[in-house]
């Protein structure tokens, strides 16, 4: 049986469950460790060194995980550009995953930089290096979070404000919403342009490293491959979150939306793989993929983790089975994240006798940042109308009318 998701609802579930408390604990502990990192040098708390100057914080929490946080971008393209109206009920879930993904990525970046007080110079464009890809990533990501993602995530908060019972606050909420409706296209277009810029620039970052990235990954097409992987992982993240939420909170199963998401993701992944292999052949390093050394094995692992789920998801019977869909999307996600992670780490050539493995503190911090994302997500879906539900479920809730346009 399949349901039809109509509108977003607030989950009327207790917030302080056991898993929630565990996530809070992990996130809080990470913040404490973050304080420790701020009063000591990076060398004391991390495994970073002069050969591997970037580690988990940048390569995993930023480069890899912000791709996972591209759900708001990817689904919005389907809903607003390709006009697939059925995606509107899941937009709030998608933009929330983006906000928590990017937000915690930025926190991670804050703990990673060695001289954070000099960040103040970012306010003075005169000191900017306009050729720097990293500057573009930093400015663009900050702008995306502050301008676009906050805007996209506003309606649920305005609803709360509207329903606060205080007539003045209700009036204020309506005013803000009115302004949002007027300027809507300008902000949403920004929410497409900015992530396109920084997700591709994350690829250009490693292009500058030239010979220091193994030829299987080093290519002038890194920006394109990184950007398209952000789409794929964005869809994957929204799928995982929705399927999991459906299972945990019994939201009903909208086969039309979930199946379509899986289908788009599958086609994108297959095209992505074609693009990557054409690029390998074009650069004449095709045989390196089958050298069966360390690099080749990682590369093949990525390829298989992407290819097998993408092919399997082409089958209707597979897409419509919750557990199969979840497991295959999870595999694909692992493959995609591995691709986004590898050029900065496994395929990075340190030039010299260096090794890097994250320390326990580093891993706890990195996991804690992700736990923080989960905490914010759980808090928000239980306080605001975020997750989609079918008409039957909505009827039992007091659905909020004035803001159901977003």
């Amino acid at each position: 049986m399949t349901d039809h998701w109509e509108r977003c609802i607030r989950l009327k579930e207790p917030l302080r469950t056991k898993p929630f408390k565990i996530f809070v604990g992990l996130a809080g502990f990470a913040m404490l460790l973050g304080l420790l990192r701020e009063v000591s040098g990076l060398g004391y708390v991390t495994g970073l060194n002069d050969g591997y100057a970037w580690g988990l914080f940048k390569n995993w929490n930023v480069t890899a995980l912000t791709a996972l946080g591209s759900g708001g971008y990817a689904v919005a393209v389907m809903a607003w550009i390709f006009n697939e109206r059925k995606f509107h009920p899941i937009m709030r879930t998608a933009v929330l995953t983006s906000l928590v993904g990017y937000g915690t990525g930025m926190i991670s970046l804050g703990f990673d930089v060695g001289r954070p007080w000099n960040f103040i110079h970012i306010l003075n464009p005169k000191t900017w290096n306009h050729h720097s890809v990293l500057l573009e990533v930093a400015v663009c990501m900050t702008a995306y979070v502050i301008l676009a993602l906050n805007f996209e995530n506003m309606p649920p908060f305005l609803e709360r404000m509207y329903k606060s019972g205080d007539p003045q606050r209700s009036e204020r909420a309506l005013q803000i919403f009115h302004y949002m409706q007027k300027s809507f296209p300008f902000w949403i277009a920004l929410a497409f342009v900015l992530p396109s810029m920084h997700q591709s620039s994350l690829g250009s970052l490693m292009f500058l490293a030239g010979e220091r990235v193994h030829p299987l990954w080093q290519t002038a097409r890194l920006p394109l491959l990184y950007l398209s992987m952000a789409y794929i992982l964005g869809f994957a993240c929204v799928l995982l979150v929705l399927v999991l939420s459906t299972y945990v909170w019994n939201l009903g199963w909208d086969a039309a939306i979930l199946g379509r998401l899986a289908m788009v993701m599958s086609w994108l992944t297959l095209s992505w793989l074609v693009l990557q292999f054409v690029d390998l052949a074009y650069r004449g390093v095709f045989e390196m993929a089958f050298a069966f050394d360390r690099y080749s094995l990682v590369f093949l692992a990525e390829t298989i983790l992407l290819l097998v789920p993408a092919l399997a998801l082409q089958v209707e019977a597979v897409r419509s089975r919750p557990f199969r869909l979840f497991r295959l999307t999870l595999l694909l996600t692992i493959g995609g994240l591995l691709y986004r992670f590898t050029p900065t780490s496994i395929a990075f050539i340190p030039l010299g006798n260096y090794t890097y493995f994250p320390t326990v503190i580093e891993i706890l911090m990195s996991v804690g940042f992700t736990a923080l994302a989960v905490v914010i997500f759980l808090f928000t879906v239980k306080r605001f109308a975020i997750l989609p539900a079918s008409e039957g479920k909505i009827a039992s809730e007091a659905a909020i009318r004035p803001f159901d346009t977003l």
Binding site: D50, I81, P116, H121, L134, F192, L351
Partner: protein
């Protein structure tokens, strides 16, 4: 304005096409229009490994001139013995010995002061920058400690103070704080007893290197100077009898990585025109969709209300 799926595709694909397709063609394009040429008065070093006797006099001279504490490394605290360039060591003499022991050479490792450096290109805040005479300098007031320079440098030269709360990037700055002030050349060239490393204008050093190659044909590896063209050229030049790659000098084409990145980003961004055009196109499309959406929602609301009235 009526926007259909084809228009949408045009805008989207147009954007990605500008980025993707032309980025590929840019990659194979022959001439690099923005190739950075060395400055007229660019200065540097010429290190002739075949003249180096490995006395390491340049190392303590460098420590003293730059106020760096000696790294006693693996010497049990007896004397200066760094294993690698690090936050205490900007200049290091290393010995290469072939596995069969027949071929050996010293190698002086320090910043190569590239003509078009990756570190300067990547540095978000101009902390790493080209000084007068092409010296690559580092400015503590602008550095945010992102360490992108360490990722980008093809020679892995910039080092970071991992154990400091106020960490600095440490690398050779060609003694820019004393050259032209208290002395006329960097500390390392001043003390070198065999003149294995000399300081001067890049053009003079290059001429000198070629003179040595001509006087002793076959003496130097492939009769060429490392740094003349590698990675867009470096201001520190190396001569050696041993394969440069064995001394840790990577083989690189004549185009710098910085130039490659500029070329690809220029093609994608077209001087920021691409994002602006795509933004404009998207606003037009979304405006249309938005009106459509509002109409749909209003319609749905009406239907719901009439349903409620019937009930």
């Amino acid at each position: 304005m009526d926007v259909n799926r084809r228009d949408v595709l045009k805008v989207l694909l147009g954007g990605t096409a500008i980025g993707a397709v032309t980025a590929s063609t840019a990659h194979v394009a022959q001439a690099a229009p923005d190739k950075v040429e060395p400055l007229e008065d660019a200065v540097g070093l010429l290190y002739d490994a075949s003249k180096c006797i490995g006395c390491r006099a340049c190392m303590p001279a460098c420590q003293n001139a730059n106020g760096l504490a000696a790294d006693r490394g693996s010497s049990h605290g007896l004397y200066m013995q760094p294993n690698n360039l690090n936050s205490q060591t900007k200049n290091l003499i290393k010995l290469y010995v072939a596995p069969d022991g027949h071929e050996r050479s010293f190698m002086k490792q320090q910043c190569m002061h590239c003509v078009d450096p990756s570190c300067v290109s990547g540095c978000p805040m101009q902390a790493l920058h080209k000084e007068a005479k092409g010296v690559v300098g580092w400015d503590a007031d602008l550095c945010i400690g992102c360490r992108y320079c360490q990722i980008a440098c093809p020679f892995n030269i910039p080092k970071f103070e991992w154990y400091r709360v106020n960490p600095k990037i440490v690398k050779c700055e060609l003694c820019r704080h004393i050259v032209g002030k208290t002395q006329d050349q960097p500390a390392c060239t001043k003390v070198c007893p065999t003149h294995a490393v000399i300081y001067g204008r890049r053009s003079d050093l290059l001429a000198e290197a070629h003179r040595r190659i001509q006087e002793n044909p076959g003496h130097y590896y492939q009769d060429r100077v490392y740094g003349e063209t590698e990675g867009g050229g470096t201001q520190c030049l190396i001569l050696s009898r041993v394969d440069y790659a064995k001394l840790g000098l990577p083989p690189m084409g004549p185009e710098s990585n910085a130039s490659r990145v500029r070329r690809v980003t220029n093609v994608i961004y077209q001087g920021f025109l691409t994002p602006v055009v795509i933004y404009g196109g998207l606003v037009a499309i979304i405006r249309d969709r938005w009106k459509d959406h509002l109409a749909h929602v209003a319609h749905g609301r009406e239907k719901n209300q009439s349903k409620g009235a019937q009930a």
